[in-house]
Amino acid sequence: MAKFLTTIRLAVGAIALLCVLAIAAPVSAQDRNPDGSVNPTASAVKEDQLLRELNRIQGRVTIPDTKEGVLIQPAGREWREFHQVTLYWIGAISIIGMLALLVIFYLMRGMVKIEHGRSGRTVVRFNPFERFVHWLTAACFIVLAVSGLNITFGKSLLLPLMGADAFAGWSQWGKYAHNYLSFPFTIGVVLIFLMWIGGNIPSRTDVEWVKRGGGLFGHDHPPAYRFNAGQKMIYWIVVLGGTAVAVSGYILMFPFYGGMTVAGMQLAGIVHGVVAVLFIAAMLAHIYIGTLGMEGAFEAMGTGEVDVNWAKEHHSLWLEEEARRVGGATPRATPAE
């Protein structure tokens, strides 16, 4: 992590230093002739000195590709260090760590059952549009995650199994998929943000919910509105993380547009990589709880309708709200067939 911070610091510093470069490096006294006139040979810039002062040597090129004006950027080696070491560790720890946690949790807790059993009556939790948006985003995310992880870990994990040519072909397709699916994914994130922002503003209820550990342990069922604090967390991870990977991703996808420098590109790469692996780890937990982890949860995004008892246990306040909204003592429900 220290490395990572160093890299960011260097990248940001480099931008600042570009400005410094614009100011003439003053010619020191001994480089001048006795009468103060200039001796260009003696006052020649020295690589050593520039590297010490600036850590990025930049100048003028006549070709329009101004990024080629960066002559030497030792920061490239820092970026490599980030990419090959720091990101590996962050990725490995967060993803494998999360998987391990989930396995341990599953072994300890097993699937969270609907305590009162299925009521046979269901209530609509997500309408078809909401489900479409969710699955659109989810499907894109999975492809993006797999193709993304492939870029970082593929050569260690898959390359030896697949061989160079097959792996390159697969990675090439992965790159295409990654680039193209970024657009629907981004749309999904935006829609998720707009669609569910109403239910995801943190509130007092969340404090209680968190205090009671979300009912993950024991048989407690802290009250919650439509989204409990855990789901809100996922929401914000998706919205904020999604925005971060999208922005950094588009910077990477449209390299050097809008006057972006190599330092900016490196920073984008760092943000994209780190946010993505953390995002993936978080989504593993989300996937777990929505499938294996909890009985009746998957239906919310499956059919869109959840069992009333499930709703009572996990989203009691929401169920009450729904009931009031519909105007009857009980929410409009259909018997489970």
Binding site: V27, E47, R60, L71, G76, R77, H83, L159
Partner: protein, 198 residues
């Protein structure tokens, strides 16, 4: 085996761009791909120096390290080459490269990158030496013909040196001693983790 390196003696470089067009000429490099370029530092000020830069064929090359598909390889002459059949145009090597060497043709979607192209030290690519397909993908293979990169061979002031690292370091050292000044073997520290004492 020789350890091939480039060395640009900035006290000789006059930004004439012969290296750039020689490279274009020898390798038929298309418009917009700049395998080699000349950068002028402190332009217009006393102390201005120009440096011709391309892939330095680094020791422990960062590009090779970050490549997601391991398309890079190092030849017996320590020239860092890559396979365009494997390259997926991800652009990572550009971020890792301390010298801005990797170039990408703009192809297809989003004006994004095609397969990476860079200086080969006039040593072609993984295909059979001097096969037609090698030339089309990577350009000339002068090393296989017993010649050095044309950029250095045609340098107007013998500023750009190419060849065995020890010999060109010796040449540079002798120059510095003879003339009494030297602004450094630009890029050597970063590329080869060594400098030439002057």
């Amino acid at each position: 085996m020789a350890r091939m390196k480039f060395l640009c003696d900035a006290d000789r470089c006059i930004e004439c761009n012969a290296c750039v067009t020689a490279c274009k000429n020898e390798n038929e490099v298309p418009w917009g791909i700049n395998r080699r370029r000349v950068v002028t530092i402190n332009d217009g000020k006393p102390g201005e120096r120009s440096v011709s830069m391309a892939c330095m064929h680094c020791t422990d090359a960062p590009c090779a390290s970050v490549c997601p598909v391991n398309c890079f390889y190092t030849t017996a002459d320590a020239v860092v080459l890559h396979s365009k059949d494997l390259c997926i145009g991800c652009g990572y090597c550009f971020y890792a490269c301390p010298f801005g060497a990797p170039q990408y043709p703009r192809v297809g979607n989003f004006g994004s990158r095609g397969k990476m192209d860079k200086c080969t030290f006039c040593a072609g690519g993984p295909e059979t030496d001097n096969a037609q397909v090698e030339y089309e993908k990577y350009g000339a293979n002068r090393l296989a013909e017993g010649k050095l990169p044309l950029c250095a061979e045609m340098c107007s002031t013998k500023s750009l040196l190419a060849g065995d690292g020890e010999i060109i370091a010796q040449i540079y050292k002798e120059r510095v001693v003879k003339r009494g000044y030297g602004s450094g073997a630009w890029g050597w520290k970063t590329a080869y983790k060594e400098t030439i004492a002057s």
